[in-house]
């Protein structure tokens, strides 16, 4: 058994955090997309990061495939990688932009913001 700190974190082992939503600030100006996007010039997109290891937590809403893969990974890590931590729910954002005909267009783009992460 490894010793635990006051916060329950393990010592003596490279610990990776469990799959969760992490901040990801997108700046269209830095991407060079401000030549056609009028607004927004930036937004909070989030991203998913962390490991999907055994036992999978229910809030990660694992797919049946992820459950099997995680189980196999726990039995033989060298043969099977863990399942992937990926967006499980995404939401849209509104974008105002200039199209190829120089017209101003408002569009609601799907799947732009990570609402939650899960094991897939």
């Amino acid at each position: 058994a490894t010793s635990k700190t006051r916060h329950g974190k393990r010592h003596g082992k490279k610990s990776k955090s469990r799959c969760s939503k992490k901040p990801l600030h997108v700046n269209f100006r830095e991407l060079g997309w401000d030549d056609w996007i009028i607004a927004p010039l930036d937004y909070e997109a989030y991203h998913c990061e962390g490991v999907c290891d055994f036992p999978l937590r229910s809030h990660l809403e694992p797919t049946n495939h992820a459950i099997i893969q995680t189980l196999m990974n726990s039995m033989n890590p060298s043969n099977m990688p863990p399942s992937c931590c990926a967006p499980s729910k995404l939401s849209p954002i509104s974008i105002l932009y200039i199209d190829s005909g120089n017209n101003v267009v408002y569009k609601q783009y799907e799947d732009m913001v990570v609402e939650s992460c899960g094991c897939r």
């Binding site: 100006r29 060079g32 997309w33 401000d34 030549d35 056609w36 009028i38 607004a39 927004p40 010039l41 939401s91 849209p92 954002i93 509104s94 105002l96 932009y97 200039i98 199209d99 190829s100 005909g101 120089n102 017209n103 101003v104 267009v105 408002y106 569009k107 609601q108 783009y109 799907e110 799947d111």
Partner: protein, 271 residues
């Protein structure tokens, strides 16, 4: 500026929305968006530098993006007509001579960028009017705005102008959805053209459109008439395709047919 009327579902959210939309002019709200970037990557003019969005489009963005942040679905608003894409097309028509009487005007819109696959849910013609101080009109004499076909001058639609407080500039909104759908079918979706005239009843005569402030001479970009088309696309659209279009527009990337399909360089680039 014209702020959209919004009809959110629950009263508490409604009051919150009302607080956010306090009548502030959309163009002022967006002032910081147009501030020059601190790091100028190139000196090339971008479409954004050349195009000034109409306040109506800024208002649409402001309303719907704020609604999104409040957890409301933008397509719920009546003004959105359940569309997920709202495109504006600026009138490219021209008047004949600036000083001669203007009895009719042709409004012309290049709608070639409109996706053929998208379902059109609505179309509005928005024209900026400002009744001239020289124009005296009695309450019994209504002014009818009539829309005619550019091809055969057939009357398509008509509406009576509300001339109460008429000396204040305002945007007249004409529903042209039915006309648009018909013309889209006939013109294969490249251009949309409407002829406009204003009629007085007694005796029946055409009004000089100068009197309604409809002349185009020295009209700033933001006061030009726009055609607003509301569409809904079922196909998932990626940002990448829009980006490609934007770069092609700037000459950063040429379309395949322009750069020659057969060369080794182009083949490598495609690979």
């Amino acid at each position: 500026g014209q702020t959209l009327a919004i009809f959110p579902p629950a009263p508490p959210k409604s009051s919150l929305v009302a607080k956010i939309f306090d009548g502030q002019e959309a163009s002022k709200y967006f002032k910081e968006l147009y501030a020059p970037p601190s790091l100028d990557r190139s000196n090339k003019a971008t479409p954004k530098d050349l195009i000034e969005p109409h306040d109506y489009m800024l208002s649409i963005y402001k309303t719907f993006s704020t609604a999104e942040k409040l957890g409301l679905n933008a397509s719920f608003f009546r003004s959105s007509k359940a569309a997920n894409t709202i495109a504006s097309f600026v009138d490219t028509g021209e008047d004949d001579l600036p000083l001669s009487p203007l009895r009719r005007q042709q409004y012309l819109f290049d709608v070639s960028t409109l996706s053929e696959r998208a379902e059109v849910l609505g179309a509005e013609l928005r024209i900026y009017t400002k009744v001239s101080g020289n124009f005296r009109i009695s309450e019994t004499e209504p002014v009818d705005i009539q829309l005619l076909s550019c091809r055969n001058q057939q009357l398509l639609d008509s509406r009576t102008l509300d001339l109460q407080d008429s000396h204040q500039p305002k945007w007249e909104v004409l529903d042209v959805w039915e006309i648009f759908k018909e013309q889209q079918h006939l013109s294969h979706g490249t251009h949309f053209c409407l002829e406009l005239r204003a009629m007085l009843d007694n005796p029946e005569r055409e009004l000089d459109l100068h009197l309604l402030g409809l002349h185009r001479h020295a009209r700033p970009q933001q006061k030009k008439a726009i055609l607003v088309v509301f569409t809904r696309s079922k196909r998932r659209q990626t940002l990448f395709s829009e980006r490609q279009e934007g770069r092609a527009l700037l000459g950063l990337e040429r379309k395949p047919r322009e750069r020659g399909l057969g060369t080794k360089t182009s083949r490598r680039r495609r690979t």
